[in-house]
């Protein structure tokens, strides 16, 4: 009995020991969304720079922020959405970037500047652009209107979802009403809140994680979701249809940043620069199914991929759409409206 317990402990110590001494090579620690970086890109980087890469994953900007804010860091690269970047920079959580180590920034598409609150790239480098759109089951639902009004349709009651995100979902309602999704006018936010409360009676739930699997299994028939997820779902099942609402959508830019307490900032710079090599950026885009604002990479893409208007939006959509910006203290307006939505009966 005692010897068995001892041997278990010895085994554990051995395992712990193995972890401790397995890394002579320098290590790059990345904190990213799941499935948001190509494995081949990681391997190529590991080989070329003779380092080891550890990727940890988070499931929302908020959870990531709560953890880093409390000091749970130790990462060299983090991938927040651009509105989160401003917040993190303001709180002194980010390292100022050294542009001398990032020569590939010259490849950046000037278009990306529309979607960032950090146009000089003092703290962040654009990584990938995605959007929040509507997906539905073509086999269960006849053609739906290209409008956010679909969430008013009682035919799909209990089989639709909206994102569980205050800015995205109130933003969709603001767009539906023809307002800016970064408005700080109380009456406009109030009107959007009432629209979402109406939608809420028709949906199964607010869902930011399961809309893709729910759509694939036909548990949900109409979902509001992120384009990269929905495009990956479409690849798998051609019965899925995607719609860009004519009122406009929110386009999100996810950025690469280096936390102020990064153990290995030099390697982090090298990695950011690596990701913006045209051939690497092109490979990563096709893997994740999202647009990287890297001009030099566009010619290297598969022409079909480059022609996909759900990834590379046309001028018209760009003109109507906006990016969620950090509103500083005015964010409270959205928090309050969202709490009212959540507790409405």
């Amino acid at each position: 009995m005692k010897s068995r317990v001892l041997s278990v402990f010895a085994f554990l110590l051995l395992l712990l020991g193995l972890t401790a001494c397995s890394g002579r090579k320098p290590v790059l620690r990345i904190y990213n969304w799941a499935e948001y970086l190509s494995d081949d890109v990681i391997e190529a980087f590991e080989k070329e720079f003779d380092v080891r890469v550890i990727v940890d994953v988070f499931d929302s900007n908020e959870a990531m922020y709560a953890k880093l804010r409390a000091g749970g860091g130790g990462y060299d690269i983090v991938v927040p959405s651009s509105y989160q970047v401003v917040r993190m920079a303001r709180e002194g959580m980010l390292l100022e970037l050294d542009h001398a180590k990032l020569p590939n920034l010259t490849h950046l598409d000037p278009l990306a500047e529309k979607f960032t609150q950090d146009p000089e790239h003092r703290w962040s480098v654009p990584y990938l652009i995605t959007s929040a759109i509507i997906g539905y089951r073509g086999d269960r639902v006849e053609e739906i209107p290209d409008s956010w009004a679909v969430f008013d349709d009682t035919r799909f009651q209990g089989r639709m979802t909206l994102l569980d995100d205050q800015r995205e979902t109130l933003g969709a309602a603001l767009k539906f009403l023809g307002y800016s999704l970064n408005t700080t006018t109380v009456s406009e936010i109030g009107a959007a809140r009432d629209v979402v409360i109406g939608w809420k009676r028709n949906i199964a739930k607010f869902e930011s994680e399961q809309f893709r699997n729910g759509l694939l299994s036909a548990e949900f028939l109409v979902v509001h979701g992120y384009s990269s997820d929905l495009l990956q779902a479409l690849e798998e099942d051609e019965r899925i249809r995607l719609v860009l609402p004519r009122e406009g959508i929110s386009i999100a830019l996810d950025d690469l940043v280096i936390p102020v307490d990064a153990p290995n900032p030099d390697l982090a710079h090298a990695f950011i620069n690596f990701l913006h090599r045209p051939e690497v950026a092109a490979e990563n885009m096709e893997w994740v199914m999202a647009m990287s604002p890297n001009q030099a990479a566009y010619p290297l893409l598969d022409p079909d991929f480059y022609a996909n208007e759900l990834i590379f939006f046309n001028e018209e959509i760009f003109a109507k759409s906006e990016t969620i910006f950090d509103l500083g203290e005015e964010d409270q307006l959205y928090i309050r409206a969202w709490n009212e939505v959540k507790s409405a009966r």
């Binding site: 278990v8 554990l12 290590v27 990727v55 940890d56 749970g72 994680e209």
Partner: protein, 257 residues
């Protein structure tokens, strides 16, 4: 005299209830559909893909290390605590009792944030030891509670009898006390182990670079990745568990005969 069959039926029903999702999970690990929806065809693809996923196996290994360590430590600490609580009636034990069950009351999120703030203040690097400490902290209470239930009407005259018969304190503990308490300690340890391998909230805050545990990995993967992949992993875990249980039973039987 005939015993009622009713408890037997309830037990059978509960077993069915327990294994229903497990069957669904195992079946779906062979389903071609990524999203575990309707059956679309048989495949072993998920198992093949699972083998190539370094990140999942790392997370799996971390989870096992932490769960084994935390359940072992909490079995020792929890049993000692339960024993003290049962044996003595004093001001100290009143405080002790309150301390043992308050962790059960505090919401997990709060526990996670507060432990993270503590480790940040101490400047500790977030390695597996940190997770081990966090898990042990919430497991102690569960073990203590279960062992305490076992100690109900524990007859201390047994201990005194053993001592009167000349057994030293160590022998008394090992030959009399531990065997009597073993089912309780084992039950508590099992509970602690299942709690530890399932913990998401506290682990989320306490994990650092490279110490991702399985629940964290799964939570992040479930959004974009296929649940089928995790179903395959769970099925493998079930197989290994059954194998271990069967082996330990066999060994036990052999050592007895």
């Amino acid at each position: 005299m005939k015993r009622s069959r009713f408890p037997l039926w309830v037990t059978a029903g509960v077993m069915l209830f327990f294994y229903l999702p497990v069957v669904v999970l195992v079946v779906n690990s062979f389903n071609q559909s990524r999203s575990s929806g309707p059956w679309t065809g048989f495949t072993l693809d998920w198992y093949v893909r699972l083998m190539g996923r370094r990140d999942i196996w790392m997370a799996f290994r971390n989870t096992l290390i932490v769960a084994t360590g935390a359940s072992a430590a909490s079995m020792v600490l929890g049993t000692l605590a339960a024993f003290a609580l049962h044996r003595y009636r004093s001001r100290l034990q009143d405080v002790h009792y309150t301390m043992i069950f308050t962790p059960l009351v505090v919401p997990e999120i709060l526990l996670g944030v507060s432990l993270l703030l503590l480790f940040v203040a101490l400047g500790v690097e977030r390695n597996l030891w940190v997770l081990f400490i966090g898990h042990t902290t919430f497991c102690i209470s569960y073990v203590a509670m279960v062992v305490l239930a076992r100690l109900q009407d524990f007859d201390f005259s047994v201990v005194e009898a053993a001592r009167d018969l000349g057994a030293g304190p160590w022998i008394t503990v090992r030959r009399v006390l531990l065997p009597l308490l073993a089912p309780g300690i084992l039950a508590g340890g099992l509970l602690a182990f299942t709690l530890s391998i399932d913990d998401y909230v506290i682990s989320f805050f306490l994990s650092g670079p490279g110490t991702t545990t399985l629940p964290i990995q799964i939570n992040a993967m479930i959004r974009r990745d296929a649940p089928a992949l995790i179903n395959a992993l769970s099925s493998l875990m079930l197989c290994v568990t059954f194998l271990l249980v069967w082996l330990s039973q066999k060994l036990n039987k052999e050592s007895r005969t």
